[in-house]
Symmetry: C2
Subunit: 339 residues, 2 copies
Amino acid sequence: MTSTSRIEELLTRFIAHDRIALARLITMVENRADGVGVIMERVYPMAGRAVVIGITGAPGAGKSTLVNRLIAHLRQRGQRVAVLAIDPSSPFSGGAVLGDRVRMTDHYRDDAVYIRSVSSRGSHGGLSRAAREIVHVLDAFGHDVVIIETVGVGQTELGVMDLADTTVVVTVPEGGDGVQAMKAGLNEIADVFVVNKADRAGADRIKAELELEVHLRNSAGWHPPVIMTEATADRGVDALLEAIDRHAEYLAETRDPARLAERRVHEFVDIVTAEIERRTARALGDGAAPELLDRIRTGELNPYRAARELMEHPGTLVRVLATPAHTPVPGDARQQERS
Amino acid sequence: MTSTSRIEELLTRFIAHDRIALARLITMVENRADGVGVIMERVYPMAGRAVVIGITGAPGAGKSTLVNRLIAHLRQRGQRVAVLAIDPSSPFSGGAVLGDRVRMTDHYRDDAVYIRSVSSRGSHGGLSRAAREIVHVLDAFGHDVVIIETVGVGQTELGVMDLADTTVVVTVPEGGDGVQAMKAGLNEIADVFVVNKADRAGADRIKAELELEVHLRNSAGWHPPVIMTEATADRGVDALLEAIDRHAEYLAETRDPARLAERRVHEFVDIVTAEIERRTARALGDGAAPELLDRIRTGELNPYRAARELMEHPGTLVRVLATPAHTPVPGDARQQERS
């Protein structure tokens, strides 16, 4: 349990640019700890200035190396950079398994670079929310650029890309059938394509394919450029940054205030439903409807019928919702232990 | 809008083994249509007899071919088989992109085989719930075996594997770095390992690695066997089925009634929170708190503070929750259109 005064202390240190406070607050957000609402209410008004870049693509496409190079180039411009890496890691250990993450340690001595991995597993359903909130926290801390890196397979991973202003899809010449399958979903969300390992055979062919695809979309507005890179040799990274900048300009020129308003409402609805979900699960776990639960346990009452009965008599729910969720919700025990 | 009498008609035809009614009911469940609660309340008591087998592994591991062979062997035993394939398909088209799905058309004339693809994209957050309900529907229809096939990357895809009694993780000898990364998360959920394309170089090495890993777990209870298959040549499929059968026997011997009871409660909590989420999103979309939403739209009020204000005055919420969700929730428009 984290007390309000502890949160206040962390927030004060956060505002004073204490990186340890930043790390602790992110851990609380990741673990859906008590007090996340308070943290976010305070952090949110400080956020909104960072450019958010999403980098996605199949495993082995060289995303981490590319991100490493992007950090170096952004630092040369004097920009503060944060990276949020979503790892397809073990649901049990909660740790990152991609060895290449260590490459990013190039920047570990640089106070203007902050790198954080979170696991996409073991956080059933909560990752998209947590990722959005972590991006707000990194933004509020004063980072000019927040890079979200994720393996581009799966519904949650794709959802995370919604957070990016500019989405970069990284592909490689030798992408086999698996990569082809992934591409089909990813191409549609790309604002910029990268063909990494562009020195390998087939790079020109895949570039032409992607350009044809962009051409065939035949839509007004932004046409995703295809950038050739060799991240390991630091080739093409300037061109990539230039493409990202051009996309940012395009976004600024075509910005729609109504879209921003709807994004805020969407976020609000999401926060409210998450809190209600939390309170409901907790109240039921605490025994808010014991007779109902007993009948479900024995199999006497089927869970769908029980849900209907509960919804038809919302008296219990009203009691439930009037109480803040201060205890872990059922099934969240493992998450809490890690905090 | 689907009327109650229409649902009743579909359920009557479903009970009479009408495959078109089965398909329509699954579509309603997939699209979170109105009436899903009613459908599930009726279907649930008919389910619970099928063996649920999860097949997962990296793209290109040959899962679809293997599933195709499994179907043939299960049919030889006289068992009725359903396949639920979770496709990492486009978030925009909603269609399946894996061409190899068509291989399963071998069985399209067989009334005792039912194959259904659902997209893992475009259904943010709802897939795990929908998949569980579709498994119940396939089970209730009288299938003896329900196979869930999914690309094993991503949080949601992993969540779907929770539905399986026996989880089969398929790997291949030439799995590169990407596959290695995926493996790390997948291995821990495997009840049975398959090394497919076992005629290729490196098959023995990967078999030995997996067996060593199983050995190092050093746990009491079930030790996942490693089965070599060549699905395209129908080799090893009998051995795989035998391993699945042995795991089913192991589960039957060690069945814990308390676990089953908790599974039922978990499902109930999930159904209730989903319904509350639906009602809340709908009510807010319908203008349940217009002044609050306006202040959020303009940016005057930050969404986290607004959420706290709403939760502190639950009067609005009580009104919200007393009304069933009969209209689409905001952001669900695309889903509804497809139904």
